[in-house]
Symmetry: C2
Subunit: 136 residues, 2 copies
DNA sequence: ATTTTAATCTATAAAAACCATAGAGTTAGA
DNA sequence: TCTAACTCTATGGTTTTTATAGATTAAAAT
């Protein structure tokens, strides 16, 4: 299941992507427009800022804005920040690899083989889709 | 993330798939061989039996066995039983469709569009892969 | 019939993840 | 200096996941 965090994050990014002249938008506006709990959205936007997707401006007329044009933001990075590893199992993760404690041999593991395929096909979508492609 | 339930279930199915003459295997044997908590495995195998993937025999010489040959078991069904809906969001699910409460219009929802693509590419893997393909 | 073996069922609880809120602090602009 | 808006820390509640305990039922062997 997709977490609310990711869902809200993507919606917020898409909302920011259609702003004229990429002007800063306040949390409150995004939260109202997209039906998202404001406090929760705060923490999500904060993590997107810390990871370099968003910029922010404090004070009057401030808000959040995209740092790069939507067409230059592939979803791989966004998804890793919001949802975590793309792989469904650590032993096939490119960025978060971990050995399975219960599994003596990866090469002969049936789950490993399957999840490798799933990772590749999912990754292929995220790599070839940018934020621009999500806009109406 | 893939749940332990699914991981264990797949391993158990693969283990059963390589049994000579498809003979019944006891829970205890699978649990030992695959490093799975026996009680937990019990409930997993039970649900696989109830959904028609496994048969069981009680008493001495009993155990669980595959009902169909591995090559005739696409992973779509198995995954739906073990892991639940394949879609990451109910509004793009074929078998478990549900409207999003927070989303006024599916057609213009950025998350919807993306998750539709992910569902299709994932489904494509599960549909074209059978239990047979997971064996070494 | 009785005993043994092994699946089945019900209930429950520990652990982790997820979602959300509260409130104080900080920064920037007017 | 006042106010608007982001930043940070902490915390609580709910749900899901994982696991365990114990009693029951069914089949086979004796």
């Amino acid at each position: 299941m997709l977490s609310k965090k990711t869902k809200y994050g993507l919606k917020a990014l898409a909302y920011l992507a259609v702003q004229p002249k990429n002007q800063p938008v306040q949390i409150a506006e995004i939260s109202m427009h997209e039906n998202i709990s404001q406090k929760f959205l705060e923490s999500i936007l904060l993590s997107l800022r810390k990871t370099g997707f968003l910029g922010s401006k404090k004070g009057k007329g401030g808000g959040y804005y995209l740092i790069k044009p939507p067409s230059e933001i592939p979803l791989t990075g966004v998804m890793r920040v919001l949802e975590g590893p793309i792989a469904m199992v650590p032993c096939v993760s490119l960025n978060f690899y971990e050995q399975c404690s219960d599994c003596p041999d990866e090469a002969s593991c049936s789950v490993h083989k399957l999840m490798l395929q799933i990772r590749d096909s999912t990754l292929n979508v995220y790599r070839t889709t940018t934020l621009q492609d999500l806009l109406v």
